[in-house]
Symmetry: C7
Subunit: 287 residues, 7 copies
Amino acid sequence: MFGNEPWAPLVSSAITIVLILVLAFVLRNVAHRIITRVVNRAATGGSITSRFRKGAAPDGIDALLHERRKQRAETMGSVLKHVASIVVLGTAALTVLDRLTIPIAPLLTSVGILGVAVGFGAQELVKDFIAGMFMLLEDQYGVGDVIDTGAAVGTVEAVTLRITRLRDADGRVWYIRNGTITRVGNESQGWSRAYMDVPVAYDADVVGVKVLLEQVAEEMWADSELRESKIVEEPQVYGVEQLSDSSLVFRITTKTLPSAQSEVAREMRLRVKSALDTAGIQLVGSA
Amino acid sequence: MFGNEPWAPLVSSAITIVLILVLAFVLRNVAHRIITRVVNRAATGGSITSRFRKGAAPDGIDALLHERRKQRAETMGSVLKHVASIVVLGTAALTVLDRLTIPIAPLLTSVGILGVAVGFGAQELVKDFIAGMFMLLEDQYGVGDVIDTGAAVGTVEAVTLRITRLRDADGRVWYIRNGTITRVGNESQGWSRAYMDVPVAYDADVVGVKVLLEQVAEEMWADSELRESKIVEEPQVYGVEQLSDSSLVFRITTKTLPSAQSEVAREMRLRVKSALDTAGIQLVGSA
Amino acid sequence: MFGNEPWAPLVSSAITIVLILVLAFVLRNVAHRIITRVVNRAATGGSITSRFRKGAAPDGIDALLHERRKQRAETMGSVLKHVASIVVLGTAALTVLDRLTIPIAPLLTSVGILGVAVGFGAQELVKDFIAGMFMLLEDQYGVGDVIDTGAAVGTVEAVTLRITRLRDADGRVWYIRNGTITRVGNESQGWSRAYMDVPVAYDADVVGVKVLLEQVAEEMWADSELRESKIVEEPQVYGVEQLSDSSLVFRITTKTLPSAQSEVAREMRLRVKSALDTAGIQLVGSA
Amino acid sequence: MFGNEPWAPLVSSAITIVLILVLAFVLRNVAHRIITRVVNRAATGGSITSRFRKGAAPDGIDALLHERRKQRAETMGSVLKHVASIVVLGTAALTVLDRLTIPIAPLLTSVGILGVAVGFGAQELVKDFIAGMFMLLEDQYGVGDVIDTGAAVGTVEAVTLRITRLRDADGRVWYIRNGTITRVGNESQGWSRAYMDVPVAYDADVVGVKVLLEQVAEEMWADSELRESKIVEEPQVYGVEQLSDSSLVFRITTKTLPSAQSEVAREMRLRVKSALDTAGIQLVGSA
Amino acid sequence: MFGNEPWAPLVSSAITIVLILVLAFVLRNVAHRIITRVVNRAATGGSITSRFRKGAAPDGIDALLHERRKQRAETMGSVLKHVASIVVLGTAALTVLDRLTIPIAPLLTSVGILGVAVGFGAQELVKDFIAGMFMLLEDQYGVGDVIDTGAAVGTVEAVTLRITRLRDADGRVWYIRNGTITRVGNESQGWSRAYMDVPVAYDADVVGVKVLLEQVAEEMWADSELRESKIVEEPQVYGVEQLSDSSLVFRITTKTLPSAQSEVAREMRLRVKSALDTAGIQLVGSA
Amino acid sequence: MFGNEPWAPLVSSAITIVLILVLAFVLRNVAHRIITRVVNRAATGGSITSRFRKGAAPDGIDALLHERRKQRAETMGSVLKHVASIVVLGTAALTVLDRLTIPIAPLLTSVGILGVAVGFGAQELVKDFIAGMFMLLEDQYGVGDVIDTGAAVGTVEAVTLRITRLRDADGRVWYIRNGTITRVGNESQGWSRAYMDVPVAYDADVVGVKVLLEQVAEEMWADSELRESKIVEEPQVYGVEQLSDSSLVFRITTKTLPSAQSEVAREMRLRVKSALDTAGIQLVGSA
Amino acid sequence: MFGNEPWAPLVSSAITIVLILVLAFVLRNVAHRIITRVVNRAATGGSITSRFRKGAAPDGIDALLHERRKQRAETMGSVLKHVASIVVLGTAALTVLDRLTIPIAPLLTSVGILGVAVGFGAQELVKDFIAGMFMLLEDQYGVGDVIDTGAAVGTVEAVTLRITRLRDADGRVWYIRNGTITRVGNESQGWSRAYMDVPVAYDADVVGVKVLLEQVAEEMWADSELRESKIVEEPQVYGVEQLSDSSLVFRITTKTLPSAQSEVAREMRLRVKSALDTAGIQLVGSA
């Protein structure tokens, strides 16, 4: 359609085809470069949040692991480059065929079937990235926080768009896909709560026990060491929290700094035990 | 088709292509600005419901966290801008190719496969937003309410279109995607109910116990302090609620102000225990 | 194509484009008005079934809540109006481009990807509405009924096309999406059944116990007060229902008015206990 | 294309458009009438299987409920008519636009997004109808049968294409969507089986117990009343069915008329207990 | 395109339209006949495997049930014929409109939305048929076999392409959709295994017990009656299978004819008990 | 378009249509032959892995079963041939209509709806085949291996592309669709591990017990019979593995030939018990 | 369209068709070669990570298994080649038909239905590959690591793009599809933690016990053998960790080298037990 000469369509076709091929090779090269860069970054452990990582660096990433990681990156990079080449050059080939007025509908149908499989198979990946993106934007947790993802509970070691890496209390390292985390609990924001249930016998002096516990609470709040570094609120004593099978259960509780609740609870147990011992009050098995 | 001159199509094509490119760049800039604004708002913690937030402000959002949030926002903003540029300019490029009568069906097929993955991967996000929108419209809960989402129970700290942020009794902060909440229980609307099960021996004086409990109920309702600030209905005594293994179980119950049920129940336990002690009636292990 | 004049296509195009734009602005305004009306209705608590609501009105919807609801409705209305404008004007823009013979296939592909996400994300919403519509048509339950939805059990406070609002026995308010209710049990239709298991020792006089229980049953049916307001059928005594570890278990049961089963069962327990005490028969722990 | 006159296309267009509009209004009216009829039938409780309903009619569908049902039917009918009008007239409008050579691809894309949501949201409904249709065709159960649907067990009160309505033993009415019933157990077809486990001490006379149980079995089969109305096969005695912690367990079992198994089992327990008492054999706690 | 006469297109259109309508009515009638045949077959209980059914015929399919089945078949047939007519004639109408150059894209879009719902809703049905087809081809089970489908365990009474009908030990009839059976266990192929755990005290004579059990095993294998009709392999005695809390557990096991394992196990228990009694060895509660 | 004669299109159409019909009938016959072959192979029990089957042949596939299998194959074959004919001839009919310039878009839409149902319903089948193909390629298990599929544990009797057939320890035959096996454990590759926990009293001589167990381990390893046919590694004794409620728990463990762990463990229990008896050390109930 | 000669289209068609067929045969051969290579690699056990495999080689892959693997590979290769031929030649046939202006829309619809089934059925496969690719890129685990995949826990023996092969402690070999692993815990990175709970009586000397445990901790840290090869941090003693039913529970814990926690814990138990014995402090059953 560039003119009325009989040879015009032929020339037009030829130009178009050359254009298509040039574009395809340029695109392929761009894709290869991007793959190289992304894969290298993965191999050297670079991640979006690495710049926020403070301490808690994983031990033992020694030369051997580094070597394995590098080899894997190269293998993966090679696989990905093949895939990219096939996609780009295949698309270009189809375009050229179409330009030559060879019908490509059947070919597109075959490719489309593959596409359905790939598209649906890749949706999980997209979910992970979207979940990771919002999680980062909303600043739900960072490296060093103790979080509960349902699947695992532990300290965050790394956050990428696709996965979150935790280390649990037993030293196990967990890799969790961001898209599978539907709710996450962060134990390192604001405050935590320590509490202790104190079961006493049914015939115990209810008022006396309560007073005793309140004394312990006051002492803890008065203890400058605890107050400075761990407790953020005067401990409170609740009344009869529960009528269990064999005991009346009192509860003593306090707000602590984030993640300090275990230590404070241990301290609390020691002090309450001592106070009760002094007062001659028995604890009762609370089942 | 603008005239019959032989050069008309060429001119028409050129004009169209320029128009497309101009539009694309305008769109790209608009997209970048919107991204900047949205990401900045997220970084400064601005949320739809922040204007309704009253008290219960999260402690410890100190400078460090603020800095991390800002860096994250910038990183995410940069990622999103790249994505927006690729989408807008890619679409423009395809349009130009089509205008130049280069066949783009194969290209659209390739892009479509990606589109399936992205579209399906993003459906969860849309579900979250839709769920959040209706939840807000129906005013299911607000900041400060104690809610039960199944995944976690706690006090609402923030509500956005995508997530709800809770803090549970242990101080853990929960981020829950709105779309995963299929049913939500709000403990802070209207009233709550406090109750206490009173197990007595099989040979206890059934009528006597009931009268005793009714006296306690009347006293509680007569107590002006309780009535003013906590109880909204005279406590009721149910008859033999259950024949357990070793005991007859009576129940005493009352409506309280929202979220005051724990305190009222503790008070009730103390009073019932005292009354029974006075009357010389033993409680029996009910478990 | 309106004539053969050379300027005909141009004029035709211009007329069409003006027509499109006018239509788009009209549609946008209609959409805005509908949004305003729907959102306002939601804000004032108006719901499809509100006209059937009798009593059980939620307490404490005070001015504060009303204000919050109004603000939320305004915010949501504004969000929805933006969305509507973008959809309507975007569609119009695409139509104009198409009319100007600018190829829009690439643009439609981009929009289609978004459409897949939105369409699939919104299917839950459609499910809720369809489920709600049929539930209302089939009159499965109404305000004031006690229902069991699996997720929660309680008294229905409101029914809309999208959600059902319950209040459970503890005063917790539940919002349940209609589409997540696969089976619902209504305790307030026709009748309920009260029953009591009576465990006696292995060496008890089986016939004597049965006669005793039948006497209690007759007395209950003869009691005009019970019969008028609660029981709808003479209580029946079943023989040895179970051979448990340590006891023979008889059962006594009766049909009651809907939701009156708890009260009747309590009455039954009291009467059976008294009768057995009088006859000197011991109950045996049945658990 | 009706001739070669220059005004031919215009006339042709005009005729077509009028035709489209007339068709649309006819279709809308037909749709409205169908909706009215379907909704009215639902309001008056008419259902496919109502003609097969024998007894077990739900009590207490009084005037109030009837009124509520009628109002709901009207509300739903009005909603559905709006929807039908929008669909029919919207389609007609699009057709007219297309006929006027205004491009409608962008509009169809917008509508298609809505369509995906509606189509996918409605698939559950279709599943319910298909499941109901086959369930009726295969005559899996009818009104009056006792069935186990997993979600609930009870007597069928009504069967429609979309739901099955049961009433369980406690009087609770269950509405279960047919599509959610993957397997259903019908207790009212052919026969049921009653059985009783008889635990005796480890040192019991194994042969003697077996003979005793066989005598009971023969007596039951000889009892003309039982045989006529309940038992359909001579009871069988199995040998040592189980070696439990503290006992040898025999089993006695029989086929009964459908749903008569509870009564027969109770009779069996009484007779076995008496026979063992007479023979001086102790039952041993089997749990 | 049939000639060059000006009226040619008109004639061509008319002929085509008549052809379409004739075809449509023929197709509708064919569909109606197929529906009548299929529904009638369902009503008379004819099923693919009925020719293989041997014994185990369901009792009590009396005249009443037959009548109900027939009425249901008629109702369903009428519903299905309406659906078929609407589909066939609707398609024909759309074709005619298209032939008259009235644009049908908007109509097809509306119909397509319905189609998505129907197509997705019907996929379960297709899954059932495909599962049933392969299950029959692979001959996984037949009428009379005892199978475990997860949802229910029982004797197969009928197998169709869509469902499998079982009767469990309590006489309950189960209808299970073939597509929901992901794994099935057939107890009636080849052989079954009977076994018995023999717990003895920690201080028992381990070798002596083993010898004793081996004697019992030999006797059972020597018993010609058992060997002929039930056991297919000499019983084996395993050594100390388990060290439980209070006992050493031996195991004795044998292969039996399919489904004969319960009877053989009962026989085994009797014989082992007698032998141990004779030898003065106590069984110990194995928890 | 084969020439310029006016009758050319007609002739062209006629030739095309004849060509289409001939092709369709050829395809139908090919499909029928393939179906016959596949179904016959299924009926005669031929399966991909049958050539690898060694021993463990299923007993009792007698003439009756063979007859049933043949009849089923014929029925299925007939059903499948009908389906194939409808698909092939239906497609041909549509093609002919299209060639006659009768619009087929509405017809294709109707067919497409069916197609969605069939396509989605068949995806499970494809999953099974793909899973089976990779499972075979990766040689995860073969006939005779003992595997754990989650749904069932047993010895593999047959492997096809669609299902795996197991026989469990009780003689039950399991048919498991390959696509439902997400992880599989093969107990017959390499080695198995036998172990035994030895609970002794808190006051036992820890070192003495350990020495004793090590002697047993050495003896087992020295026993040439065990070493030749069952054990592949000297048994190891672990120290105090657990502090249970009432005992210290030692563990003794060894690698055995695949699937020989039960026998070795029984042997180990006997030997340890004897050694402890000799040494006068009591085992303690380990709960 | 190559010129204006009447025979031009014919020639053009013929050339195109020959071109299509040549291309198809070339593609088919390429596909066959790729299949041969991939299948052969699978048969010889070559996998992506095989080059990283160090030790832990699976025993007993003897000649028999090798033969079976080879046969399977050949069978699979043959199946795959048939599939490839059908796809390639079928696509070519459709293209030729289209070029001959025979309408192929109906054929494409039929093929598309198959395509939906295949595409959706294959999405799991794509998920597995994508998951495997990222897992390798992120270096989550390697051969020899002990990992917890939820479905199984064990030592990694091989990693491919599709599956991970583990061997658990009992010697069972697990094949787990990468796409089904949503979170994975790696026990072999950095460190593990060994701990021991020490329950003492309520009346124990709390301070004394703590001091005693701290001595044990110091001794362990001082033990050069432990420190060199197993412990990486001085053991810590926590205070009263729990108030159980009958005891105060102390905890002693330490970081160890990866996977050395069991051994260290055993050592710790022995040492603590000895120290407590020496000091005359009883351990209390901790339930």
